[in-house]
Structures are given as structure tokens and as C-alpha cells.
Symmetry: C2
Subunit: 674 residues, 2 copies
């Protein structure tokens, strides 16, 4: 009641003191200040006040949108609330993440190990482009797919529990970039290669680059019911070694097609030590590169008909077949392009040339006509038909220096990131005229829009994903954070709302979804194995706890509940194989336990109902506490026990005591006195 009165009085001072005419003296409470006083004290402008009020989310209220941003070299995905631009979660994807117990002994280990390439264990990624699953071209909030450029992999994140369920390594290519885009109903997750290499990665000298190095478009079949990529039913299309870059799937009118650009059709291979020009100049010689147009429904038919070669278990439509059968067409595109973005209506494809000043608007109807009429300008040296550039485009928007990526709103406007100029350029899809440029800080790479990749973008927000942030934030060392800047695009003019430092990884692309589309679980079913979605066969309920020895294998069936483990004492022999089976008996929201055995590099996160299985060898004798790593209750520190490993060859329990003290053994300590 007292607090209500205070708030009421504060409200008066807050609003009244903002008037231009002198207001009657106000009763002020403590150090409460009016808007004007606060503006003066903190150096805020009117625009700042408006921006603050457009982004502030008070305690107890939540954000309207969620952004899924790639974590770049962190290997993870960032879930960010908008408009508050608060980091809600770093989702462990390719890199082990101990808070989530991801990759520290439990079921997630198999997910990470499933992503190994060749004989190498890989424990990081360069995450580029997160893409939400779609139904009829609209985000459905069920899954998120991301690609790992550095190790040519794709991961599936289940948004039911924000957990990575699958990592699929691509056995054919050495890197990817144009991924992980989806077709409008998520039939396929698309991953296209970047740096050409022999398919299958076998050694071939670099001087055979043009002959033997290749690109690839991988079509990973997605099984929505299982929530997994179905590797056996996936296939690929071989591409020329043109260094394919970004890609996008057609939708509505252009459904059934995929568009991939490229930037080194010169096929430069560097040689800096040998005195040759670096790739950056070699790749920038030509005025045009190639937009690749793939008819994936035609390719799918060829695959079904068996018109493929099989490399490392993957069926591949060869470059020769792709060219001859009308699966692949090329169109010139200026110059060293980066972004390729299909418009919401699916009718056009916008390409930004990073060494160009234009955004080029390709028209699908025109392209389709050329394809259907087999009107070719000729073929490239790999036999792929080339369509005429001028005949394929509607026009070009004069954007500025270094246009990269383009996103869309609900009012017919496009927003292009312009790297060198450090602006967001807003332009009209109708007449291709630039309307406004908003300076961003600095060197914007990707850009994202609310529901921007769907058939019905929301408008409202655009985020500039800036690569540099010098002078924006307090210095946190020579490695600077990136800078996301939230722009309001609801008005006639764009408004700069707020800066968000990204101090973990360098995000590439992001997508922004309305939060009401997410149907996320609060607790797991009792004994659920997160990776099967079923009750685990070893799930342990209260009263079922036991320790079972079979030779040198010890199975421990455990439960965790506020605030103890059962059992809380486990003794094994050095060299024993230990299988822990732990079920959290909790069912209250947010009642998470952790579990670690000290110095055994085991760490689990036991959300309510979750079951985990851990297998390890007790190869280090000694006394190791095990405890709940979550502050789960007032007595969380007491949620502990001991894991004891008896040294090999010990026949009696007498062991050298580590005590430095000469104090005789105390039978019992005297209770402390008051």
C-alpha cells in the first residue's frame, strides 16, 4: 500500500515537470527525478527518451520477438529477446557447453560426436546462418537449423526444449556457407559449399583446381515427425568450382527453386608466398560472377530415377547431368556478390554485389521463361547453360558502397546492409529508389527483419548486425564485441533504438520470430530421455535406486530431488566401468539440479523430469565429492555426496591418511556452544 502511494506521487512529478511552463512545486520522493531532470543528469536527448521507452521491458513482462542469432566462431546459437535486446540463452550447438551439461558426459555427447569429420574430433564451429523451420513459407517455431562453415556441418535445434538434437557432417565438402536454408515446408535443409575442394576431400594438388575441385549443393531431407535430418534420403547437386556463397530457397511463385550466388568465378587460388596475387584480388578481376539457379524438384526426380553417382554414401547429381537435364542454370551477377534474398512474394531475388553499388533485382518469371524456352547465352566451360543477365532482371537499385544483404518489411520496402558505407539503406521494391539511409556503428554485415524471411514479414523491427564497435562500449580488451543495433521501421523514418554488444562470437545471420509461435516445454516428462523423447529404459523413480555390480561394471540407478541424491555415496574400484543413470524427480518449473563428480570432467544439467545416462571409467583413485551445481534450494550446498575410488590392489580399507595433523583421531566433535 505504501509503495502504491509513492508511485502515484512519483507519476505526478514525472509528467508535470516535463511541461514547458513552470509547474507548481511537486512533492518529490527521495531522490526521484522528473523526466527532464533525468535527461539532464544522464545526458539523454528526446530521441533517447523515445528509444528507451520503445525498448524497455519491465520486470514481469516479456519480449514480443525472439531473435535466433548465429554465434559465429562460438559454435553456438544466441536466443535474444526483442525489443529489449536481452540475451535469453546461449544454446549449446557445436561447442560443448557445461551449464547445459552439453558434451560433459550425458546423452549430448553422442550428438557432438556425431558431428566428427573423418578421424577428427571437432569441438567448435563457425556458425553462419540460422534458419527456422517453415510451414507454407511461414516460420512455424518448431526447429532451427544452422550450418558450420569451418567443418561443413548442419545442426538441428529442437525449439520444444531449445536443445541441439543432431549434428550432421557433410562427407563431401570442405566448408559450407549457403546454409542452412529451408524449402517452404522444410522438406529440405539446404547446405551449399564455399571453398571448392575435391568432393570427398581426397588430396588433389591445387593446380588441378579447375579440373578436380568442385562445389556442391546438399539437400538434407528433413523428417519433421522424427525431428531429424534423414541422411539416407538426402542428396546433392555437384557445382562448378566458383566459390558459392549465400543461398536462398524460392517460395510461392518460385517454390521448387534454389538460388546461390558465387564470388570467385575467376577461380583464383592465391599463392601469396610465391609472389602471386592473393585470392582477394584474383577473385575481383571479373565484372560479373554467377547466380546459380537450381530446379530442385527436377533434381529430386533425377535422384528418384537413380541418375546419380554415389560418393561417400551420398547420391550426387553430377555437374554434367545438372547442366544437361536443366537442373542448373547460371546468370551473370555483378560483382563479387554476397547476399541473395528472395522477396516475400517469391517473385524476385535481390542480389547485393559487395564490390558493386547496386542491389540487382532478378525476376523469377523472366528467368523461368528463359529456362523454359532454352534461351541461352551459351554455356560455361563445365557445360552449364548461361541465361542473359539483362533479360533476367527487372532492374537495379542504386544503393551505395558495398551492399550485402537485403531484408523486407510488410509495406513493400527493402532494407539493404551497406558494409563500407556503414548504413542501412531503405528502398522501395516498387520503383527501386532509395528512400533513406540510417548510419550504423560500424561496418554492418548481415541484417535481419521481424519474420523477414517469410511470405509475410511483420515490419516493425530491423536489426543491423555490425561487425565493429570501436567507441561504442567500454573496452573489454583487444577483442571487441560485435554490435547489434535495433531499428524501428514502423514509422515513416527509421529510428535507431538501442545498441546490443555481442560479446560471445561473431554472429552472421539471424532470424526474428514472434514469440507466440514458440511452443516450448516447461518441464520434461518424468524420466524423459531428451534425445529419444521417451521415458528412458533406465529411468529411476523414488524407491528404485540401487547400485548393481556385474564384474568390473557398476550400474548406479540414482534420483535427484531437493536437496539430495540417492545414493549419495558410491564406492567403486579403480578401473571399474561406471554407468550412472540419474533421474530428476522434480516436476516444478525452473527447479533444475546439476550433477558433477569433481575432477572427472562430468557435468550434467538435470531439468525437471530429465533422465541422463553417463558411462565412464573410474581411472583415478581417491575421494571425489559429487554435488548439485545448481543453487536449487536454501540447502543446495548440502545436496552432495562422495564418489570413492579404491586404488587397485587395495585389500584393506586402511590407506595413508592425507592429514597433516598430528591430532589423534577424534571420535566426535563437541557441538559448538552458544
Amino acid at each position: 500500500m505504501k509503495s502504491f502511494v509513492i508511485r502515484g506521487l512519483l507519476g505526478v512529478s514525472l509528467l508535470a515537470l516535463a511541461c514547458s511552463k513552470p509547474a507548481p512545486p511537486q512533492q518529490t520522493i527521495g531522490a526521484s527525478k522528473s523526466v527532464k531532470e533525468l535527461m539532464a543528469a544522464r545526458g539523454l536527448t528526446e530521441a533517447d527518451v523515445e528509444a528507451a521507452l520503445r525498448t524497455y521491458v519491465p520486470t514481469g513482462k516479456s519480449d514480443d520477438y525472439m531473435i535466433f542469432a548465429s554465434g559465429g566462431q562460438s559454435g553456438q546459437v544466441l536466443a535474444i529477446g526483442a525489443p529489449s535486446m536481452r540475451l535469453l540463452k546461449v544454446i549449446g550447438v557445436f561447442t560443448p557447453e557445461p551449464w547445459q551439461g552439453y558434451g560433459y558426459g550425458g546423452g549430448s555427447n553422442a550428438v557432438i560426436e556425431g558431428g566428427n569429420q573423418g578421424t577428427h574430433k571437432i569441438t567448435w564451429a563457425d556458425v553462419h546462418h540460422p534458419n527456422l523451420s517453415e510451414t507454407k513459407g511461414d516460420y512455424d517455431g518448431e526447429f532451427l537449423f544452422v550450418n558450420d562453415k569451418a567443418n561443413a556441418r548442419v545442426a538441428v535445434v529442437d525449439l520444444k526444449d531449445f536443445t541441439t538434437k543432431q549434428i550432421v557432417p557433410n562427407p563431401l565438402v570442405s566448408s559450407d556457407h549457403g546454409g542452412a536454408f529451408v524449402t517452404p515446408n522444410t522438406d529440405y535443409v539446404i547446405e551449399t559449399s564455399q571453398y571448392p575442394a575435391p568432393l570427398g576431400r581426397e588430396y588433389v594438388p591445387i593446380d588441378q583446381y579447375k579440373d578436380k575441385y568442385r562445389g556442391l549443393a546438399m539437400f538434407w531431407k528433413f523428417d519433421r515427425a522424427k525431428g531429424r535430418i534423414d541422411v539416407a534420403n538426402s542428396w546433392a547437386v555437384e557445382l562448378p568450382p566458383y566459390t558459392q556463397d549465400l543461398a536462398d530457397a524460392g517460395k510461392l511463385d518460385s517454390d521448387g527453386f534454389v538460388f546461390i550466388n558465387s564470388f570467385n568465378t575467376e577461380m583464383a587460388i592465391g599463392g601469396t608466398l610465391e609472389g602471386k596475387p592473393p585470392i582477394e584480388s584474383g577473385a575481383s578481376q571479373g565484372d560479373m560472377d554467377y547466380l546459380h539457379v537450381i530446379d530442385w524438384k527436377k533434381a529430386e526426380k533425377l535422384v528418384a530415377e537413380g541418375k546419380t553417382s554415389t560418393i561417400k554414401g551420398i547420391r550426387v547429381v553430377s555437374l554434367d547431368t545438372a547442366g544437361k537435364e536443366g537442373v542448373l542454370h547460371l546468370i551473370g551477377e555483378p560483382k563479387s556478390p554476397h547476399g541473395v534474398d528472395v522477396t516475400p512474394d517469391g517473385k524476385e531475388i535481390v542480389v547485393g554485389g559487395k564490390l558493386d553499388t547496386h542491389a540487382t533485382v532478378f525476376n523469377f518469371e523472366k528467368i523461368k521463361k528463359l529456362i523454359d524456352g532454352k534461351q541461352y547465352d551459351g554455356k560455361d566451360s563445365y557445360g552449364v547453360p548461361i541465361l542473359n543477365f539483362q533479360a533476367s532482371i527487372r532492374g537495379q537499385a542504386e544503393i551505395g558502397l558495398g551492399p550485402l544483404h537485403t531484408v523486407y518489411d510488410n509495406k513493400g520496402f527493402a532494407y539493404t546492409s551497406v558494409f563500407i558505407e556503414s548504413v542501412v539503406a531503405k528502398w522501395s521494391l516498387k520503383d527501386l529508389k532509395v528512400i533513406e539511409k540510417m548510419p550504423v556503428h560500424y561496418n554492418i554485415g548481415h541484417i535481419l527483419a521481424a519474420e523477414g524471411d517469410t511470405v509475410s514479414p511483420d515490419g516493425k523491427y530491423v536489426v543491423a548486425m555490425n561487425k565493429m564497435s570501436m567507441d561504442r562500449f567500454t573496452n573489454v580488451g583487444p577483442l571487441y564485441p560485435q554490435n547489434f543495433q535495433l531499428l524501428d521501421v514502423d514509422g515513416e523514418k527509421m529510428r535507431m533504438l538501442v545498441d546490443m554488444p555481442i560479446g560471445i562470437g561473431e554472429p552472421h545471420y539471424s532470424q526474428m520470430i514472434k514469440v507466440d509461435k514458440l511452443k516450448t516445454t516447461k518441464v520434461y516428462k518424468m524420466g524423459e530421455n531428451v534425445y529419444t523423447g521417451q521415458k528412458d529404459p533406465s529411468a529411476t523413480l523414488a524407491g528404485q535406486e540401487k547400485i548393481v555390480r556385474n564384474g568390473t561394471t557398476v550400474d548406479v540407478y540414482m534420483t535427484a530431488i531437493r536437496s539430495h541424491f540417492t545414493p549419495d555415496r558410491i564406492e567403486v574400484d579403480e578401473g571399474d566401468t561406471v554407468n550412472l543413470h540419474i533421474t530428476s524427480l522434480e516436476q516444478s518449473e525452473d527447479q533444475t539440479h546439476g550433477f558433477t563428480i569433481n575432477m572427472y570432467n562430468i557435468d550434467l544439467s538435470l531439468e525437471p523430469g530429465k533422465h541422463e545416462n553417463v558411462t565412464f571409467v573410474a581411472d583415478m583413485a581417491g575421494v571425489y565429492p559429487m554435488y548439485c551445481t545448481e543453487f536449487c534450494s536454501a540447502l543446495h550446498l548440502e545436496m552432495a555426496g562422495y564418489f570413492l575410488v579404491k586404488p587397485k590392489g587395495t585389500t584393506t580399507t586402511a590407506a595413508p591418511a592425507g592429514s597433516a595433523s598430528a591430532v589423534p583421531a577424534a571420535a566426535s566433535a563437541a557441538p559448538p556452544k552458544k
Copy 2:
């Protein structure tokens, strides 16, 4: 100019429409809204408006404070700006972090490997208490120390470059908690054990707990000039197996002393499977536990005099010696205490009993008098003298249910986190009366205050570090973020400013420093080895690049500069040992490059001037791109090259081509046509 006019007009509408009397019609620009309209549209109260304006930091301005928060089970440290509560950086500490190139091949590997315990590689931590280095009891902004509860380790983060330089494993204990606190001039970094175990961790049956299990207070000597813990000059004091909890160092009047509380003086050891009570009840039987008072200057003298035993290379003052020589005294403290916090003037020590309702204020002068007068209530069963509780305290503040930790402001107030009640209790140190309680969401654990652990706290801000956040944020899966709530404590009443979700790890303690105390580097010296602070012997400048083979060892001296590597083609034989030496030739702020060799799990962050050395075996034949993982320029994708590994036994360069295509080798591709 246009934008200036717009801003001017907006200002008018913004302020004028906030008046209670009807204002003349305002010219509005686009969808610009007044404060009142925005409040209505977004459901903001007057308190929300004030909170927004107290926390919003516009682009181009930066925060006043930096919070260093432990990352809990993430193993990292979080650097957070205040009042904006934006995450500026996740600092890689115990867990490999690929964006920072931390633990992926470079010099940081040795730091992480230095933290291995016994024969186990450890790649995570349960980070508990970050502590800034101090000079005369004030934060000096030079270093940050954190402890790893799960693996009994302490790390040193250099704030010159926000980089972890050292991880020191404690060979004696099995877990720690009361760390990593510093003495007022950072002579020592203190790490006290938590779960008792035989010192040295040798196996001893659990039934010998009272006789052979022990606690320990480790005094790590810090060499400020070197910026490293000096292990050889470090030492420890053996403690009874009372499950020591938090700790704090004395300052000013109490300089030279350390205070450690404990919570299981009952020495309960559980046995839940065997039908015995869990530790949580066994440890809660007694009304009192023991505050441990250590005279570390006296202990240091004993160490110098050689009155120690040596266990695993560490000199230990035995429990017997500590008791007899007046190094260790015990005082009863109610009940299952958690926080122990020395007041800024060093005169008092506040202890929160988590099963108690009080904060107990111990008085150092009283304690010192009892010690000096050898006025003991008796000794515990380990021979340690016990001081009288009532004679040691000034009084108790009636706080509420579950008081944990206490921090201080500059006006004589204390702020105690109250877990079960979910409030921050503000009380007066003068009369120990509670003045106000602020509800927090939910279940607050630690609490922090601006410059709160120094001899001169700033007041202004307090942060409630809440463990639970159900209903505060959009659901991001069954594993919920924690919730930091920033409170303004500058006024007569506390104000709730903003919620910050923590979606990476579960922070325990944090410290908050004024940013002007940080003297962080913007770029490295040319060729600097970050771990020696010197120019690396292998630093490579422009023109010095080369590849040198010695038998099966290949040394590659490389440079990185916008936007190419020299060399950009490296060919080795399968099985070769490869030493990469890479120098970034950049010297511009924020001009970072990355470096990876695909599928070799190598990933470096090359900030301006930085030099890195990487050694690995080229054990997987094939073609692997290497590239810059940072969006370093418009042509960042072109900053790439190839690492080729020739298979063993290959005598010619002819190798099976991976191409699926039957297309004949193309001599050159036709340039695309316009």
C-alpha cells in the same frame, strides 16, 4: 540537417503531450509518439519510465560500471555493463571458447592444460566467486581471480586484455568454495575448501571422515609484477572437516585476518541409499556452526620458520599447529551460515545464517581481545580454541527467512539477500534495524554492490542475483535463465530498475567496478605473445614469411593482414608435424582476424599485433581450406587459402579426383557475360 529538424519537433511533441492540461495540437513526425502514448501503447507505468531512463545507454555512450560475474557451470566470467545491464563479453576462463581462440590450438592451450587435475583433462568449471585485485583495500582494475568449486582451481584473468593467463590446480583438496578472495594489497589469493576430503585426495573410506578428512585454507601468493600466482611461495592452513563455506579477508582494522564460515560441523556424511538421513538434514541438526578466524600473518611467519608439513609440494600449517600457535580460532555462528562479509571499515563481520532469521554482526575488536587474552570457551575435538559467541558479537539484525549474503553502500547501510523470502533487506549498520525490503524475482542467492567489497563502496547500485526466473522471460526451454535485477540504492527507497536474464551459466558472486579504473589495451604490440607479454621469438613481419622443412617437421611463418594470409597455400605430407607461427600485422583498433584450418579443430583469434604459435600433426590427408573467421573487410570471404595434406606413400601428384562429373577438364572458364 533534416534530421536535426525532425529531432527538434519530436522533442516538442514528446514533452508537451506529457502535460496534464490539454496542450495545443502538436506537429507529429511519422509515427512518433509522445511519452503518454508510448506508455499506453507499451503498458508502462511511471516507475517504468523512470527505470528506463535510469538504465538506457544511447549509442555512442558507454556504461559507468562494469560487473564481473562468475559464469557458474559455464566455466567462464561475464563482463556486464551497468546500468544498461548489457553483456559486454563472456571471458573464456576454464572452458575452451572458440571465438576467443581460447583452447583451440594457440598459446591458451597451455593455460587450460595447466589446470588439469591428476591424470584428468578438465575442460569446464563451476566458477563461484570472482574477485578483483585490490590496492589498499580498493579495486585497482588490474586482475580478476576466480575459483572453480568442482575441480579446486583458481584462475587469473588479466584485465589489461581480458584474457585468462593462469589456471592453478590445488593438489590438496577435492573442491573449493571460499575463493578467490584477496588480501587488501593482493598479497594473497585465498581459496578455502568445501567438501572435506583427505588432503591430497588419496582414498580413505568414508567412515574415517572425522579422523582423516580435512578442510584447508590455501594462501596463493600473487606476484603482481608477473601477473601470476607464485605456486612455490604459496602455503596452506589445515582445517577441521567442518565443510567450510564462504570466506572474506579482513581489511583496515582487521587486516591480517581471514574469516571463513562453515555449515556441517555435525560432520554428517549422508547415506541415503542405506536409509540414513541425507546430508541436508544431518548437517542441520546443530543450532550453531563455526566461524573460523585465521591470523594469516601469524601463519605466514610459521611458514617462514618452517613449522609446516609438506603435502604434494605444498607447505601446510597443520591443524595441530594452527590450534596451538593461535593461527586458528573458532566462534559459534547460527545456523548453517552462508555469507561472511567484512564491513568496509574492517571493524565488523556480518554472517547470514540460511536456516536462521538473523544477520549476525561479529565485532573484530571484541574477537581480537578474546584472542589476545586467550579467553576460550574451550577447544573443539581437534584442539582448536573456541571463543564465546555472545562476547564476539555486537548484535543481530532481524532480517527474515534465509539471509545469505550482505553488501554495503556508502551511507552506512547493509543489503542482505534473503533467499526463501525473495527480498533484498536494507538495514542500518548503526542500529541493526531493517529499513526496507524489496521483492526480487525469485530466490536471490548472492547480491553485489557497486565497489561493494572495497574500503569505500560507491552506493548507487545493488544487483540481486536471482536463481529463478519463472514468469519473467519468454520460455527458452526447461533450463531457465537466471535473473539479475539492478536496484538503484541512491535514493531514500530502493528502486527496481531492470531485469537481466543470464542465459549462460548460473552466476554465484559478482563484483562491480567503476570503469575508469580499468586500463585495458586496445591493440597488442606488434608480434606480441599474449602469454609472455613480449614479442614472440617467432613473430613474423611482412616479407619474413616462409615455410621451412626439417625432416618431418614443417615450420610455417605466416602473416595476416586485410585481406590475405601469406602464405595462403601450405602443402605437407601426412604425418608431418606442423608448427604454425602467425602474426597479425594489423594495428588498427577492432581489426581482428581469425584463423582456422577446416576439420583440424584449430581456431585462433588474431587481434591486432597478436602472435600465435600452433603445433599439430597433419594426420588426416586431403584438402582443407583455411580462412579468416572474422568479417574483417568487404573481402573477408576471400581471406582464405588451402592446407593440403598429401597421403602417405604418394609419389606422384595424381590422385583420385572426387568429381562426380564426367565433364572433361576445363582449361579455363569463360568469363560471365553481361
